[in-house]
């Protein structure tokens, strides 16, 4: 009986030690600098700069880490050319393994065009970028490309719920010296590389889903920045070529339950 008691006590003590060390390590983590102002300042400088640009164009190379049904990791690549003209004109062309799509918004009408399928859909949505993004998402589940770059006030959006921010160091992206920033919020970690001299433009984004064990990321490398492109307004208006069919956007919730 005595031995049993002793063993029991020893086992519980061991458990207790484990528990205490868990608490102790949690405390150490909590003491680490949570949000480094050096990192948030650089992010703010970037978003302010982007928000202040009247026109810009950029090429993005995007890689999406994916998981096949077989459980194997695979990357899906996609290139997007984007032209923005504030306050409300946007052109984006996306090409990749699975996508061949052009997006137009001229401040009045939004058009989505799939050249290889010879179909397009258009929707009259007057207003600002922010209004259009919201309307398209809520009505059709459509997410306008590069919304993050276009939001005039992206900083609070990016910083929302951020619990950790750090300036990782310097890095070279596409031949440009950058500050490498890391931010963490519940379920998502994101890294941003910002040119460290002259124009504080983003050169690379990595967004990691930390909410699932696979830790999959979306990676976007930006190149060919032009902060004063010569763009005619006609570029933002779609003129349907011969033999192209007009189709519609399905309202959200249509045909639920079958092959999305």
């Amino acid at each position: 009986m005595r031995t049993w008691n002793f063993r029991m006590a020893a086992a519980m003590f061991a458990l207790g030690v484990i528990a205490l060390s868990a608490i102790a390590s949690a405390e150490v983590r909590a003491q680490a600098p949570a949000v480094d102002p050096a990192a948030t300042q650089i992010l703010k400088r970037m978003t302010d700069y982007l928000g202040g640009l009247q026109q810009f164009s950029v090429r993005t190379h995007n890689t999406y880490e994916d998981m096949l049904a077989s459980g194997h990791r695979v990357d899906i690549d996609l290139m997007a050319d984007v032209i923005i003209s504030r306050p409300n004109k946007l052109f984006a062309e996306r090409k990749g393994d699975l996508v061949d799509q052009v997006f137009y918004y001229d401040g009045k009408t939004l058009t989505l065009y799939n050249p290889s399928d010879k179909v397009y859909a258009r929707e009259p949505v007057p207003g600002t970028f922010e209004g259009v993004f919201k309307f398209m998402y809520q009505s059709f589940g459509f997410i306008v490309p590069v919304s993050d770059l276009v939001y005039r006030d992206a900083f609070p959006l990016l910083m929302q719920d951020v619990t950790y921010a750090v300036l990782v160091g310097k890095s070279i992206i596409g031949g440009v010296r950058c500050d490498h920033l890391l931010f963490s919020r519940p379920g998502v970690d994101f890294q941003v590389w910002v040119s460290d001299g002259g124009q504080p433009l983003p050169r690379k984004y990595v967004v990691t889903d930390t909410g699932s064990p696979a830790l999959l990321s979306a990676i976007s490398v930006m190149s060919d920045w032009n902060v004063a492109p010569a763009v005619a307004d006609a570029r933002f208006t779609f003129v349907p070529p011969q033999g192209v069919q007009q189709i519609t956007f399905l309202p959200l919730g249509t045909g639920s339950g079958s092959g999305r």
Partner: protein, 158 residues
Amino acid sequence: MKTMLKISVVASALALMLIADIPLLSEQLVPEAHAILGVRRRTAVVAGATVHAADEAQISASQQQAAAANQQAAAAKQQAADAEKQAAAAKQQAAAAPPAPPPAASGKPLPLGTVVSTLPAGCTSTPVGGVDYFYCGGNFYRAAFQGSNLVYVTAQPK
């Protein structure tokens, strides 16, 4: 010895609380991960069906996890499993594997407004009133965008 026992009991209780907290925590965090600028939005920004499908698979996986942890009703699990099945189907199609024949292949007419991500094999293009319909298996389909994905919807030609 008695004091030590007491301490260790308290400490183990704390350890249990820490462990017990984890599923609850993850359940709260999961929706947020996709709600905001998160991966869901970002992947959906540019990519088509595949990335979207992967995303959904992730969501459903974590839902399943949370459901199991909380021993919730089987309904939630069923939902997650459905979403996963759906995601897997979309992925299969996106990965350019031979598409699984939609129910239409059986020749039974589908309810109007049924959405499929690929046309069944052997559809023929049939213009009606300037609109291209695709006819096969007793159904007319028309093309439409669901989000940024091109899909086909069963319809009655007008």
